[in-house]
């Protein structure tokens, strides 16, 4: 299990287009990958689950991956989120 905490810095949160890019990037990995916000968890490979989290500006999210390529997945997905987030702690 590999995970990282991130702060959503984009003023409009994570909206449809970046969320879809994120799902596409997550789907390239074998690991189980989730995003958590406020105790709720969404499968990072499902757009409906991700949009259902309604990731808001200035909220803290956790990106977690479990599987053979977990660390690579975390690195790639943090890069994918790029300007939308900044690392916490």
């Amino acid at each position: 299990m590999s995970e990282i905490r991130l702060l959503v810095v984009d003023p409009s949160g994570l909206h449809a287009r970046p969320a879809a890019r994120f799902v596409q990037a997550a789907s390239r990995f074998a690991s189980r990958i989730v995003l958590r916000q406020d105790g709720r968890e969404a499968d990072a490979k499902s757009l409906i689950a991700l949009l259902g989290l309604t990731i808001r500006p200035q909220s803290e999210i956790t990106l977690a991956a479990d599987g053979p390529d977990a660390e690579a997945a975390i690195a790639a997905l943090q890069a994918e989120l790029g300007p939308y987030v900044s690392p916490v702690g």
Partner: protein
């Protein structure tokens, strides 16, 4: 995997096609049939058959979404114009058009199976839109 968007309005499906391409990318074939043959609001069986045929020439399967139930009448006629082989590659869904198209296209873009794409589209009916508090 491709998707076919059917609406009573050509303007509506043109706009939706643009949204789908921006959100899901250009790798998913999108066919549209909106309005009647003379440009009024309504549906046209020949236009629908053409849109489905175009998607099936680019993709193994086509997932079809409708805006309103009355489009199903034209769709039935259009499906009868397809060959048996083509019809077997078409799945018609109950999914809401806008949300279903976006969700289906994104799942299709990551190589999901036909069943998974249909499930994603139909799950849109219960998708929350307003932030939960």
């Amino acid at each position: 995997m491709g998707i076919v968007l059917i609406s009573h309005s050509g303007t509506l499906v043109d706009g939706l096609r643009e949204m789908v391409a921006q959100v899901a990318g250009d790798d998913v074939a999108v066919g549209t049939a909106g309005g009647t043959d003379d440009g009024r609001l309504g549906t046209s069986a020949p236009r629908i058959a053409e849109a489905i045929g175009a998607v099936l020439r680019q993709s193994d399967d086509a997932v079809v979404l409708l805006d309103l139930g009355s489009a199903a009448l034209s769709l039935d006629i259009a499906l009868e114009e397809l060959s048996e082989d083509e019809r077997a590659r078409v799945r018609v869904t109950e999914a809401p058009l806008v949300e279903g198209a976006i969700l289906a296209a994104v799942q299709a873009s990551v190589g999901a199976s036909l069943d998974e794409v249909v499930a994603a589209a139909e799950s849109a009916a219960s998708m929350a839109k307003l932030p939960r508090t």
